[in-house]
Symmetry: C2
Subunit: 229 residues, 2 copies
Amino acid sequence: MGDKIVGIIGGMGPEATVDLLTKIIRATPAKRDQEHIRTLVDNNPRIPSRVEAILGDGPSPGPVMAEMAKNLEKSGAHFLAIPCNTAHYYLSDVKEAVQIPVLDMIEETVKVLKADNIQNVALLATTATIATKLYENKLTEAGINFILPAPEYQEKVMETIFAVKSGDLEGIQKYTDEIINHCLELGAQAVILGCTELPIAYKNKEKYKITFYDPTEILARAIVRDALS
Amino acid sequence: MGDKIVGIIGGMGPEATVDLLTKIIRATPAKRDQEHIRTLVDNNPRIPSRVEAILGDGPSPGPVMAEMAKNLEKSGAHFLAIPCNTAHYYLSDVKEAVQIPVLDMIEETVKVLKADNIQNVALLATTATIATKLYENKLTEAGINFILPAPEYQEKVMETIFAVKSGDLEGIQKYTDEIINHCLELGAQAVILGCTELPIAYKNKEKYKITFYDPTEILARAIVRDALS
């Protein structure tokens, strides 16, 4: 019962937050309700668009995220997590707003890739995440070769992400296969599903001859590790 | 952007809370993140067992639920919802603790059954929910005939619920068919999945010749209705 409470700065998008909660439950060794960890979730889809802000076309979501972080800390959270890759561009806004630790999903993901000895990895992410170089910088530091889809495939990645956000079940499946084939052609041995909407599109990972890294899954395991520590 | 924020007293169990969040997303007419509603979720699986408390074998979860409700109100929730049927036995503790409205999932469910002109309905629920007569009283008031499974089938309902709670995928499917056949034999035209774990066991509703009422789904629609009103 002395386990820690995790606060989740969620809603970016709402589906991704639900996906994280599901993965936390699966990553927890529990047989009954009372063995699961407590999460405080601010599932706030009204946060200004990260993509629009980074591409120079909208207000920064940083202040809203900092406000949510403070509220979660006040409500009793012992540490925080953010289930949105792009939003990690504003990680320092969040860290400065609170006294409690904030998990870095991107750092956790790169740590796992490094431990698995991955050499060449493709990044599937929003154009905004790519523009921030969040993954690029950390992968390069770790000595991992970093592959990006060609522009026409990057557009297909974005269409897949927006299909998940709008619940367009047909659109979600439309490009999944050709995106992975493209990554294989570029020499990737692994792929980072670097937008929290993408694991929802790639539910059948077994059918592809590539290793998937799902930052949401990795974040879930880091949350359970820190909550039970 | 003037839409209301819903506070969710969750974690009873954690899967049921995730199921509610998923159903809220599906019930919301949204094309982009910013059109979804904001939820504040206290996903607290450490709440004392409702089943044990009601069957006379453990502390009341009422005070913890009241504390969570106050915290959610303070954090900015405009109204509250509780995705757990059995926990509705403590609804008055929650209502007394806060100034904001609290949705009654059981009342909302009976309203829908009444509007659909259902005459005979079977209740699948925890033994504790049945003991509280939460559904029985409201169904009787509404003039709807109320059917309970025979004791040996009630045990199979409980085993199914605990299989969901422990993530036992085989156990989840073990009795689903025979439970519904039993309800049909008893003359039920409809069945209430009166424990928030049960919709997770009955994902393939189409295969049965009975109408399902899922209180979690009904609660999700009520939340979206009230949040957007």
